[in-house]
């Protein structure tokens, strides 16, 4: 038992799960953080990304690793279009509507989610889709890793780190964080809030599509498999603190750890109990998120 816990195998599994959670939650968090709109269609974008990779692979034999940047770019364009087409006016309506924006956006995204699911079901049939790519097992030390899981970990991890660096180091990233933390103040100091908002939408949609590409290598999917990813994303960002992107990444890794080590220590049947137990516990003790600097008891 101890050997199992200390072996790299579980660590690898935890990292793969965690990094995919992190990538899924990343986009959701950015969009929420900058605009206070909850994208409940986020998981459906993951599903669309998975389909894009699937068709590119089955129709043209295109490697998902090659397709990944293309799909992400298309996702970004889609995010930009949705922002310009739907949300720009809604958000520009001003502070008097601020309370309504969250509610309205929820309805809008919910509608979008139903639309996307059903268009996908009509266009692609509700069949389970899957393909096998990089299925060979690589052994490093005493840890065996399937090629596609290793690739998914590398890409998801690198993307999360890149976005984290972008937020920390670049001027544009600083502007984004400014809007997340103090929206009004950001306006006053001259941050181009509109630009920050469309950029968040673009990054948000792109990361969801990318997560879809990576997931398509690992598991099968159908037009209706997006919703669980939305839920996973919500748990991560609420655990980490809504709008707190960095904390979200840590929370995602924590969930990956709970999911693998928790199961190893107790029983697989307790997976949901552990996940939601930690979630509820964290909400009670740290209502602003696990890694928030502002604790309730001060």
């Amino acid at each position: 038992m101890i050997d199992t816990l200390l072996s790299g195998q579980l660590l690898f599994a935890a990292l793969v799960t965690g990094s995919l959670y992190a990538l899924t939650a990343l986009g959701l968090n950015l969009v929420y953080g900058t605009m206070r709109v909850l994208n409940v269609a986020h998981g459906d974008l993951v599903m669309v990304g998975a389909y894009a990779a699937f068709w590119a692979f089955t129709l043209w034999g295109l490697s998902p690793l090659v397709a990944a940047p293309v799909v992400a770019a298309i996702g970004a364009a889609l995010g930009y279009a949705v922002y310009r087409g739907i949300f720009q006016r809604l958000l520009a309506a001003g502070a008097s509507h601020a309370g309504r924006i969250e509610g309205n956006s929820l309805l809008l995204f919910f509608g979008l989610s139903i639309l996307v699911q059903n268009i996908a079901a009509l266009a692609f049939t509700p069949n389970n889709r899957a393909y096998s790519y990089l299925g060979e097992v690589v052994r490093i030390g005493n840890v065996s890793m399937t090629g596609n899981r290793l690739a998914a970990l590398a890409i998801a991890g690198a993307t999360c780190i890149a976005v984290a660096l972008f937020l920390r180091r670049s001027v544009a990233g600083l502007a984004m964080r400014a809007v997340i933390e103090r929206r009004e103040a950001a306006y006053i100091v001259g941050v181009d809030v509109d630009r920050v908002q469309w950029a968040s939408f673009a990054i948000g949609f792109a990361s969801a599509a990318l997560a879809g590409v990576l997931l398509s290598m690992l598991e099968q999917f159908s037009p209706f498999s997006g919703f669980p990813f939305t839920i996973a994303g919500f748990i991560v960002i609420i655990l980490g603190g809504l709008g707190n992107v960095m904390a979200g990444l840590l929370a995602a890794l924590l969930l990956g750890v709970i999911e693998t080590y928790g199961v190893a220590l107790t029983s697989a049947n307790l997976r949901s109990v552990l996940l939601y137990g930690c979630f509820v516990g964290a909400l009670l003790l740290f209502p602003n998120g696990l890694f928030s600097r502002r604790r309730v008891w001060g």
Partner: protein, 399 residues
């Protein structure tokens, strides 16, 4: 003058009336009217991905029946059309749909929805309206509690039978120890509950028995324990999504056990695509059909399905759907649309299907044996029981 106009009018309208009643009553015109077959199917929602193999089979059948001039209704051929509603993966929705199909759409015949809970949910509706329906994709010991009369279940993949047969199969392969991993969804949980006592009775050592939830995302911990147990057989009582997760992670961890049984999933064409053909090779699963020379039409069904859809039919669900259509077709050819006669015929007749002979005893198929199939050179072959085997069991070499 006036008188003759009136008479002429009377004559014309009389002739018209005659023409109308004549044509409506004539068998000729009825044959012209398509036969309407209604059913609900999960086209959206969480179960939608499981239903295409059944719906595809229905569509293939309709195409073939219409190509040969229609379905025989007591000797008169009538073209077939479907009335389909989406039950959104909700059994209570299916109940409303079947009521509507019977009372509002007034369909001529009913076909089955997908899945056990849906079959059980609509059984009282069929009973209430005395409308017979041949079920297909339902398997559970609880089906035996459904009141017999207007619904029948052709599957032989009933969990308690699976427990007995799988144990017998394991004994012939000299398996001494096993690991049982079970998804807690109803069908696999039922298999586990019936399988483990059988294994114990047969003296097979269950080194590890573990359950897991349907939304499991990673099996590393579970499969590491399974590997350490060092057994002769792994019995993964999985559902489609975790069947792929199991196969992929068993490969990653090198869980090289010769007897690899994965309950649901591998019989569907997506499985070898998802895990890769080498990983699928040698995997055993539940199904009681495979193209077999003794079963008339089985090869033709396989070939036409593959031609139309570009992938294999589901060896469990597609085959069951086709069987149910064959049974209905035979009964309607004999009895026309008289529901009571159809019901009598289905209850008493022995039918020839692509899965061999089928006869119902109450709600259950009394003839088809519970069987297991194995991927051999990319094709599923029946390897148990020997009486209907199309191939010989081979231990799985590696993933």
């Amino acid at each position: 003058m006036k008188h003759s106009t009136l008479r002429r009018r009377l004559l014309v309208s009389g002739a018209f009336a005659l023409a109308v009643t004549g044509s409506a009553g004539g068998a000729w015109a009825q044959a012209d009217k398509p036969l309407r077959l209604g059913f609900s199917m999960a086209r959206t929602g969480m179960l939608a991905n499981a239903t295409p193999s059944q719906l595809n089979t229905y569509e293939l059948w309709k195409e073939q029946v219409n190509a040969r001039g229609g379905m025989s209704v007591g000797g008169v051929k009538r073209k077939v059309e479907f009335v389909i509603y989406d039950d959104q993966s909700k059994p209570d929705q299916a109940v409303r749909i079947y009521e509507k199909l019977i009372t509002d759409d007034k369909v001529d015949l009913l076909l089955a929805p997908w899945g056990t809970p849906f079959h059980i949910a609509i059984a009282p509706v069929l009973e209430k309206f005395k409308f017979p329906l041949v079920g297909n994709t339902a398997a559970s010991v609880s089906l035996r509690q459904v009141k017999p009369g207007y619904i029948w279940f052709p599957t032989s993949a009933i969990p308690d039978r699976i427990g007995v047969e799988l144990t017998a199969f394991l004994k012939t392969q000299n398996v001494k120890s096993v690991v049982v991993l079970a998804n807690i969804l109803p069908f696999t949980k039922e298999i586990k509950n019936h399988l483990e006592p059988e294994l114990k009775k047969a003296g097979i050592d269950i080194k590890l028995s573990s359950e897991y939830p349907p939304d499991i995302k990673d099996m590393t911990a579970l499969l590491t324990q399974a590997k350490q147990a060092n057994v002769d057989a792994v019995l993964a009582l999985a559902y489609p999504s975790d069947s792929v997760l199991y196969a992929k992670q068993a490969k990653e961890l090198g869980l090289n056990v010769p007897f690899q049984f994965v309950a649901i999933g591998p019989s569907d064409a997506f499985f070898p695509k998802a895990v890769g053909p080498t990983a699928a090779e040698g995997v055993l699963t539940v199904a009681h059909w495979s193209p077999r020379p003794d079963w008339a039409g089985s090869q033709a069904f396989y070939d036409t399905y593959v031609k139309k859809y570009g992938e294999d039919p589901d060896f469990l669900n597609s085959a069951l759907a086709w069987m149910s259509l064959q049974i209905l077709e035979t009964a309607v050819a004999k009895d026309g649309l008289d529901k009571e006669k159809i019901r009598n015929t289905i209850s008493k007749t022995t039918f020839d299907t692509i899965n061999g002979q089928v006869r119902f005893d109450g709600v259950q198929n009394a003839i088809t044996p519970t069987a297991f199939v194995q991927y051999q050179k990319g094709k599923l072959q029946i390897v148990w029981p020997p009486s209907i085997a199309t191939g010989k069991y081979e231990p799985k070499k590696s993933w």
